[in-house]
């Protein structure tokens, strides 16, 4: 090459092999905005404007009071000790109510506040102690200039400034609190779930392999001490039915019933007394927390001079004073209570993906009765729902940085599901869900994201409303296949007694995790209803995430990671003379990976359930209160929730396909020749050198020409997503093996694992750790997102060919699959465009696809936003199973979203 700065896209175009990142038409030259645009109500607009100026802020208030009580109670029964510590922490949280809020309360006293939980993991703060202290001791100048540099990164505190210390580039903490943070971290050294888990996981014979797997990023993170719960569906039922006073009474009755009695269970029968005692303590703490907010509302009502604001504070106080004790009376009280419950659960543990579930169906009784009685109008409901979106968007999750940044992209994955069926198989959607969609269009925010549980029985009006929402470009709602999910649930939870009627109560937890639910009998003013709610353990737990292309890479390198020089797996020393031998070796390495990650993960979670068990979340879900057992003692109705998550499936399939074609079938290259090309990145620079993680932007090395031919052949080898039987057969073989293989492993709850196929954001860091792959993906570049999305530019035959490829295997074997499509706004314009998008969605569901979602956006807008982020603070995109503000996601993921094939006609 003459210039040697030529980008891959140009090189290939010269050779007559253009990568095409568009399909199906020709979008206008100029940037095109999204067609559907609405505005929030004035109140919410103010609250949203405030959010856009708000930094992620952390405080040590909760961990201080928690740790203080926990240390005081040394020697107490673990569950009681934990509950007392939680009560102490909740009772001492400072209440802040912001002007204009209708729904109140929060994780911490800041608008977008959170806090660390050193009892889970304190290692980061210990390692960073000096650095944190240094930042804290530096005298801050706190000039307005410094304080106004917040634009880049949205609300992330990417650097320390003034008297604010950045913690891992995400959270800000006042420097005066840093000494307390370090002291708290020290209190948990050797006692946290992380430290204890690490102590015992080292007793596993394969521990060193596990360590190497983590170091080389074949696996992304341990869930036991980072996010022990989540990607599940909450259950608001018990407080909604009985009120907190009623639940305390139930726990007291439970204590009297079980005290001193094993009742046939010699192992944990006696534990029930302690659990009921813990329930009472935690509920009392939560009541105090709510009442502290009520007091603050009254105080504010007393000092404000604004008559309207005064009345609102009084209404807030009245609402909180009631729901601290009793079943809510109105829609507003019920909505406030569900939000309060949600935040309480998130304060109990580090959780990502605690989903509200089918909230429109849960709250329908109050909506219906308020509307019938004329107590509320639909506009008032909409205003409350818009406020609800704002409050959910303020939720931050404080976990380790690899998790918050690398895995989550700062998202919290509170997924609200709509549609689906009732217990007796009728459409479950209702008028309130239409309003939830409308509120989500008016107040476009990342949280809660929305999912439609698509069923053929759902009314067209509802489905088209959801399509209209898609056209706002928010990325929600995602579409999930109701019938496929039910089949998966029956297969996975049938042994625990799930029936088809109960399976219909499911919802999506986290991005797109099919999660078990149950129907609960609710009575409101004498009228009986049935509402759905979560009844299963977290599905964020298990083996997360395995980088499939990386495992394949190590098959080719005899188990050694060339990037780090670590021998991860025992050398197989095979010649790999046939494709079958290569495939068998891949499976062997993969199974070793799952095995050692399962056992180490089981130990971490076992420590968690012994010392850090959920008390509040447990009491919310059936059947903990009736059994007298928390989650750790199998109190939940469904417990087979641990899974194996994969990442990079499509690159792995495309790479296997290229190897089979070029090395074994056509014999054009030897495996050694291919390996040489991969190790030398096909003659290209690394992605880090180039500063872009998108394939098209990669640049060739000056001496890189020798791999031109093999690289061209790798790119032109058959690819997934084109209805090509050659590639699709490899996908089917993989999926049939993977979904069955997962079931060979057992969780600490003695239940079989299952397949989960989402990427969240791990396709960026895991791609960064992976050498070039035989499909033509270059070293360090991001994988294809999800599990069924085509690799950017490789789906050349349109969406329906992509659907045929994606459904060549039975997707009901897996908890999920994930398909993202990027569509240019002009392709689905007007009513006709809406119909096309509906038809497209329906076609995929009818073929048996589990999930599809859309980024309705012009790629030119994204490119401009990357150059000029200050102009796009409110731009949102769909990443994997979640929507996030563009400015709050990392560059590798931004590059990947830009590179996705843009459908300019459907």
């Amino acid at each position: 090459m003459a210039t040697k700065r030529a980008k891959l896209e140009e090189i290939l175009a010269e050779k007559g092999m253009p990568i095409n990142f568009q399909y199906g038409g020709k979008a206008p030259e100029q940037m095109v905005d999204r067609e559907v645009k609405k505005q929030p109500c004035p109140r919410v607009k103010k609250l949203k404007d405030l959010y856009f100026q708000t930094l992620s802020s952390a405080t040590v208030e909760f961990p201080y009071w928690y740790t203080r009580k926990y240390q005081e109670l040394e020697g107490e029964i673990p569950v009681v000790r934990r509950a007392a510590a939680l009560k102490h922490a909740f009772s001492h949280l400072t209440p802040t109510i912001f002007p204009g809020e209708l729904l109140v309360m929060g994780k911490a006293h800041y608008y977008r506040g959170s806090f660390p939980m050193p009892w889970l993991s304190e290692g980061y703060f210990m390692v960073k102690e000096d650095e944190l202290y240094q930042s804290a001791l530096n005298k801050g100048s706190a000039s307005a200039d410094e304080l106004s540099k917040f634009g880049t990164g949205g609300g992330n505190v990417t650097k320390s400034f003034g008297d604010v210390v950045s913690i891992a580039g995400k959270f800000g903490m006042r420097k005066e609190e840093i000494p307390a943070l370090v002291k708290l971290a020290k209190a948990w050294v050797g006692k946290s779930v992380d430290d204890l888990g690490h102590k015992y996981e080292q007793m596993i014979p394969e521990y060193q392999m596990k360590e190497n797997i983590m170091k080389t990023l074949i696996c992304m993170f341990d869930s036991g001490y980072t996010l022990p719960q989540g990607r599940e569906v909450i259950n608001y039922y018990y407080p909604l039915q009985y009120g907190f006073d009623g639940l305390i009474e139930m726990a007291k009755e439970g204590k009297a019933r079980v005290a001193g009695r094993a009742d046939g269970d010699g192992l944990v029968g006696m534990d029930r007394l302690y659990f009921y005692e813990a329930v009472i303590l935690v509920l009392e703490g939560i009541q105090t927390w709510i009442l502290n907010y009520a007091k603050e509302a009254k105080r504010l009502a007393g000092v404000t001079e604004d008559a309207v604001q005064k009345k609102e504070y009084e209404e807030i106080a009245e609402c909180l004073e009631w729901i601290a004790h009793k079943q809510p009376r109105t829609f507003r009280e019920a909505l406030q209570l569900t939000y309060t419950i949600h935040i309480a659960v998130l304060n109990e543990d580090a959780i990502s993906g605690m989903s509200p579930g089918r909230l429109g169906q849960v709250l329908y009784p109050w909506f219906e009765q308020d509307m019938e009685a004329g107590r509320i109008t639909e506009e008032e409901v909409l205003e409350l729902l818009e406020c609800h979106r704002m409050k959910f968007t303020l939720i931050d999750c404080f976990a380790s940085m690899g998790v918050v940044g690398g895995v989550l992209s700062g998202n919290t994955f509170n997924n609200l599901s709509m549609g689906g069926l009732t217990r007796d198989g009728k459409p479950a959607t209702n008028r309130l869900e239409m309003l939830i969609l409308e509120a989500a269009m008016r107040n476009e925010t990342p949280q809660p994201t929305l999912s439609v549980l698509y069923d053929e029985k759902l009314p067209e009006e509802f489905l088209l409303k959801a399509i209209e929402c898609n056209k706002t470009g928010t990325g929600y709602p995602a579409w999930m296949n109701n019938q496929s999910a039910i089949q998966f649930l029956l297969n996975q939870y049938g042994p625990e007694g799930m029936t088809v009627e109960e399976a219909r109560a499911f919802a999506i937890g986290g991005c797109l995790e099919t999660s078990a639910g149950s129907w609960m009998p609710l009575t409101l003013n004498g009228k009986k209803y049935e509402i759905p709610g979560g009844s299963g353990q977290p599905t964020s737990v298990g083996v997360h995430f395995i980088a499939n292309p990386k495992v394949l890479e190590l098959v080719l390198t005899n188990g050694k990671d060339e990037r780090t020089g670590i021998q991860v797996y025992p050398p197989h020393n095979k010649k790999l003379q046939t494709y079958e031998e290569l495939w068998e070796t891949f499976k062997e390495y993969y199974e070793m990976t799952v095995d050692c990650l399962t056992t180490t993960n089981n130990i971490q979670h076992d420590i968690w359930r012994k010392n850090n068990m959920a008390v509040f979340n447990s009491l919310l879900k059936p059947d903990c209160l009736s059994k007298g057992h928390h989650i750790g003692n199998l109190g939940y109705r469904y417990n087979a929730t641990f899974n194996v998550e994969s990442c990079g499936t499509v690159n792995q399939i495309n790479a296997l396909t290229a190897i089979k074609k070029l090395v074994y079938d056509d014999k054009k290259y030897t495996l050694d020749e291919l390996k040489d090309a991969l190790l030398n990145n096909f003659g290209f620079k690394t992605a880090a050198e180039v500063g872009s993680f998108s394939l098209a932007e990669q640049e060739k090395r000056e001496d890189g020409d020798k791999y031109d031919e093999i690289y061209g052949d790798c790119l032109l080898a058959p690819k997934y997503g084109n209805d090509d039987p050659y590639a699709d057969a490899i996908l089917k073989e993989y999926e049939d093996w993977f979904c069955a293989m997962c079931r060979n492993y057992e969780s600490l709850y003695a239940k079989p694992l299952y397949a989960c196929q989402i990427s969240v954001s791990t396709h960026a860091p895991q791609g960064a750790a992976t050498l070039a792959s035989a499909d033509g993906r270059l070293s360090g570049t991001t994988y294809a997102d999800g599990s069924m999305s085509a690799y950017p530019g490789t789906d050349r035959k349109g969406a329906y060919a992509l659907f045929n490829s994606a459904t060549c295997w039975d997707q009901t074997q897996s908890q999920n699959s994930q398909m993202n499509l990027k569509i240019h706004p002009s392709a689905i314009k007007g009513d006709e465009g809406s119909r096309k998008l509906m038809d497209l969605t329906r076609a995929y569901m009818r073929k048996g696809g589990f999930h599809i979602q859309y980024n309705v956006v012009d790629s030119k807008v994204l490119k401009d936003a990357q150059k000029n982020p200050h102009n796009y603070r409110d731009l949102m995109v769909r990443v994997a199973g979640f929507t996030q503000y563009w400015v709050e996601i990392g560059k590798p993921i931004q590059d990947e979203v830009i590179a996705r094939t843009e459908y300019e006609g459907v």
């Binding site: 930094l55 002007p99 800041y110 608008y111 307005a144 604010v164 006042r174 307390a180 002291k183």
Partner: protein
């Protein structure tokens, strides 16, 4: 007013984040680390409590409870049952 006082020491201040908050009197956003005004009302914090014995690095000891535990001066004490104004 005392130069050491910050807006986050004032009861009329709603802390939006670690850098700024809303002044409930003026109903506008203000930075924490800017001078307070004459409508300042002391927010209960450990450093303002008679049970707090200061030490170094913004830390001290709380004598308000039987455990005599360590405390930090910026801890907001509006919910503390043992808070006693200095």
């Amino acid at each position: 007013m005392d130069k050491l006082l910050k807006h986050s020491d004032c009861r009329n201040f709603a802390p939006v984040d670690v850098a700024k908050g809303i002044c409930r009197i003026k109903n506008e956003l203000i930075f924490i680390d800017s001078s307070v005004c004459n409508k300042f009302v002391t927010l209960p914090k450990c450093k303002n409590c008679s049970n707090f014995v200061p030490d170094k690095d913004h830390m001290g000891t709380c004598k308000g409870f039987k455990d005599n535990y360590w405390a930090y001066e910026e801890n907001i004490a509006v919910t503390c049952e043992e808070y006693a104004v200095k």
